[in-house]
């Protein structure tokens, strides 16, 4: 078997040969041809088989016609003036250096492109082009033709915000690092033997220079900590940033006092070092997956523009302009943008992503169709009944917007710890102040400041960022992408798990097929396969794939009746396949337990195909891996598989079928009200509400870069069988965090024992503070690595 030169997949028995090279399909060879013409063979020599494979159906066609609409176009363009425009496109397919090379050499493919620049981390390409030579639509179609399909959705603004935060953190790290290094050099003479002999002028200068260098650290670099502490205080909560802020201020004030009264050089080096380390911690924790999107709302699932028919003319209008009463056209494979009434055409609407029903639903003119369904078959004409925002589905989505992250961080262990920590430190400091003030008031103030300085929980504050930051990266390497580090802690608190069925624990597009009836001869199988291949209904496709390969025959007078079945004349024989009523009428007893496709040849019933869901590999291990959890299943599908699922998941009362998206949401809420902490595992829009309201929502996706409902984590479907291991790993990570806390408390106790006695000197602080930070960071990194190796995860 040969490997496709373009995409690297097996070519099968009949590869497409072009230029003496094998290709798996025409699509791949087309791209090769395009690149060959433009002498861009380097694409294939730089990396072996760098290409992206597309399904044959995936043609550009009129799919991007909406980009010709001025209003839509201006939404996408970053800049457009004097015939030159710039656009930033998200292309999930970017994956290797060949991709970067090709996308940055777009000007060779089309002269209208002036410049293109790839951001690999964000999987984006920024293209500057001449309007007169290439339109935005043509540009997107060009990218489509080389199989780099841009995802055109409504907002990419969130990403920009993230970038801004990232940049400003980096700049703060730079400033703090600069101050840390220089102040350290200036403080060094004090720490060495003989340091006392330095003359007054010099140590005075050193002190003042340190003070100047520390100013930006206390103002610019510490600002976020002060702000966060202030905000939480206003909500009457003590978070970790409060003791940190107190520590920073105590350090700064005490040091300034020492410098200006000429006592010494103070603790400015410790102050700058502390912020340097803590900012690095923040930055490390914030390095999330920029190219993944965890909070897409319904708008990015829906099309950007729709075809409206007005006075007999078709035109593209942006989705927002769609009004009730408008007449729209929805073609094969397109989404229905709003709840509407079917006017014309035979609907076969795939709601699998919306409701969880496995198979397309037949609709006749006059029927109502809901937003979010995907038409499979001929084009439909619809009359819009409700505005897009008021559709059943979108309403569900808007209903449950909670500031989950904020809520979570309030309950998090670090804030609970810092709550008690702060109180204890304040009590201790005041106690020491009172105790020493009987003796010497100056000393008492010094001790008070020392306690606050040394108690600054920087090691404590570093434990979580580094432990969870490392865990997040381990997860990412294993196909489990979490939104941010607070998800890890939330996972460890869960004690109930809800599975969705279709697409989550079952494969969405492949099923176990059995033939039930009189044995089929080879020619009959060839007939059935030839007939099935004419239809795009998922059942036909699956049956067509299941039957042994054979040359396809022509089906004459092929007919497809949505919701019923297909028929055609092959080799002079009438072959029909479809639902029970379509083929057999009432002759055969109904069997609702399995999805069946009946087949007749020349009006004689031959038998039926039964289709069973195929469960994902490792489902049993995952289910048994959820020890101590209460297991639940909510499915939008019928209860055909209740028995199977009872065997796998257990007790029947936790299995719920025919659940609407609202039911699912209600179920999650009900469990939460009963004191459960819920982890919801789903895949489609029908789970969107439930995923949002659960404590942790996990989406399963075949392709993590494609659309998935808003959630806390995205799991690659191939890794489903290891889900329980990830949860266990999260628990181990929590233990590492507690150990890290233990270490940092140890340092605090040592530091405090110096401080209460009034013995905290700058040199002790300068050693103790960086040392504790480094130990904690090293411990976190190392133990996560070791733990991952023990659990056989890719570290």
């Amino acid at each position: 078997m040969a490997e496709c030169v373009h995409c690297g997949q097996e070519c099968g028995k009949n590869p497409v040969i072009f230029d003496n090279k094998p290709f798996c399909c025409n699509g791949c060879s087309m791209v090769y041809q395009i690149l060959q013409e433009k002498k861009m063979n380097r694409y294939y020599t730089m990396m072996p088989t760098p290409g992206i494979r597309l399904d044959a159906e995936n043609k550009a066609g009129t799919r991007y016609a909406f980009l010709d609409n001025d209003e839509v176009r201006s939404q996408f363009l970053e800049f457009s003036d004097g015939g030159i425009s710039r656009v930033n496109l998200f292309i999930p397919g970017i994956h290797c250096s060949s991709c970067i090379w090709l996308l940055e050499n777009l000007q060779t493919l089309h002269e209208g492109v002036i410049h293109s620049h790839v951001n690999f981390v964000r999987k984006e390409v920024n293209i500057t082009f001449r309007d007169s030579e290439i339109t935005l639509r043509q540009l997107v179609e060009l990218l489509h033709s080389i199989h780099y399909i841009p995802e055109l959705s409504h907002s990419t603004k969130k990403k920009d915000e993230h970038q801004k935060v990232n940049r400003s953190t980096l700049m703060k790290i730079g400033v703090a690092g600069f101050a840390f290094g220089n102040i350290m050099l200036l403080s060094f003479p004090d720490y060495l033997p003989g340091g006392e002999q330095i003359d007054r002028l010099m140590s005075g200068t050193f002190g003042i220079v340190s003070f100047i260098l520390a100013l930006p650290v206390v103002t610019y670099c510490s600002w976020d900590f002060f702000l966060s502490a202030f905000k939480s205080l206003r909500k009457k909560i003590i978070n970790i940033d409060l003791p940190i802020s107190i520590g920073i201020l105590a350090l700064f004030l005490e040091s300034s006092y020492e410098i200006f009264s000429g006592i010494g050089t103070g603790y400015m080096d410790s102050l700058a070092g502390l912020l340097f380390f803590m900012l690095i911690g923040r930055w490390y924790q914030g390095r999330t997956y920029e190219s993944l999107s965890f909070d897409r709302d319904y708008r990015s699932y829906f099309p950007i523009a729709v075809t409206r028919i007005q006075e007999g003319k078709e035109e593209f209008v942006p989705l927002a302009e769609l009004k009730p009463g408008d007449s729209i056209l929805v073609r094969n494979g397109e989404l229905i943008p709003a709840d509407s009434e079917l006017l014309e055409g035979e609907g076969s609407i795939d709601y699998s992503f919306v409701t969880g029903e496995a198979f397309p639903v037949a609709k006749q003119p006059g029927d109502h169709v809901f937003a979010g369904g995907r038409q499979t078959g001929a084009a439909l004409r619809l009359k819009v009944e409700k505005a897009v925002e008021q559709s059943y589905l979108t309403r569900l989505w808007n209903e449950d917007k909670v500031g989950d992250d904020e809520k979570r961080s309030m309950q998090s262990v670090v804030n609970r710890v810092s709550h008690y920590f702060t109180i204890i430190i304040l009590v201790l400091a005041t106690g020491a102040l009172i105790y020493w003030s009987f003796d010497d008031f100056g000393k008492a103030v010094y001790v008070f400041a020392s306690i606050l300085i040394v108690a600054c929980p920087c090691a404590l504050a570093l434990t979580i960022p580094f432990t969870f930051g490392n865990v997040m990266r381990v997860f990412g390497r294993n196909g489990f992408y979490i939104r941010n580090t607070s998800v890890i802690e939330a996972i460890t608190h869960t004690n109930a798990v809800i599975f969705d069925k279709t697409g989550t624990i079952t494969h969405s597009r492949s099923m176990k097929i059995n033939w039930d009836g009189s044995p089929l001869s080879e020619t009959e199988m060839q007939w059935i396969r030839s007939l099935a291949r004419n239809s795009t209904h998922p059942l036909s496709v699956m049956i067509g794939e299941w039957l042994p390969e054979s040359p396809l025959l022509i089906a004459e007078s092929f007919k497809e009746i949505p919701g019923m079945g297909i028929s055609g004349k092959i080799d002079g024989h009438i072959v029909m396949m479809g639902s029970r009523s379509f083929i057999a009428g009432s002759e055969v007893a109904a069997d609702t337990r399995l999805s069946s496709v009946y087949v007749s040849v020349n009006n004689t019933l031959k038998g039926r195909f039964t289709l069973e869901n195929r469960y994902r590999e490792g489902l049993n291990e995952v289910v048994s891996g959820f020890e101590g959890y209460s297991l639940h299943l909510v499915s939008g599908d019928n209860d055909a598989e209740r028995e199977n699922l009872t065997n796998i998941i257990g007790s029947g009362e936790n299995l719920h079928f025919n659940q609407s998206p609202t039911d699912k949401l209600a179920y999650v809420r009900q469990l939460k009200e009963n004191g459960k902490h819920v982890i919801m595992i789903g895949d489609g829009l029908n789970d969107a509400g439930a995923l949002l309201s659960a404590d942790v929502g996990v989406t399963i996706a075949d392709d993590v870069y494609h659309f998935s409902p808003a959630c806390d984590a995205i799991l690659q479907s191939s890794k489903f069988g290891r889900l329980h291991e990830y949860l266990r790993f999260a628990r181990s990570a929590m233990k590492i965090v507690y150990s890290g806390y233990g270490i940092s408390f140890l340092y605090n106790v040592i530091g405090l024992s110096f401080a209460v006695q009034g013995l905290l000197s700058p040199v002790v602080a300068a050693i103790l503070m960086p040392l504790s930070s480094i130990t904690v960071v090293g411990f976190a990194g190392l133990s996560v690595r070791i733990m991952a190796r023990i659990k056989k995860l890719n570290a």
């Binding site: 964000r122 940049r167 730079g174």
Partner: protein
């Protein structure tokens, strides 16, 4: 000894120069993507590209 003070002044001035260079680099987006620059530097220019192709053609013959 007071020359040390002057030296410190200079050393900090140099350090500030580097700090400004770093801040500029962050601001201009050089830290936004840490993958593609490392790949981009290895891309050959157009001429070598064509010669590359001729070698490939020879091997095919």
């Amino acid at each position: 000894m007071s020359v040390v003070v002057v030296l410190i002044g200079f050393s900090i001035l140099v350090a500030v120069g580097f700090l400004i260079a770093f801040l500029w680099a962050v601001k201009s987006g050089q830290y936004d993507d840490d993958v593609s620059p490392s790949v981009r530097i290895l891309f050959d220019n157009e001429d070598e590209d064509n010669s590359d192709k001729s070698i490939e053609n020879q091997t095919q013959v």
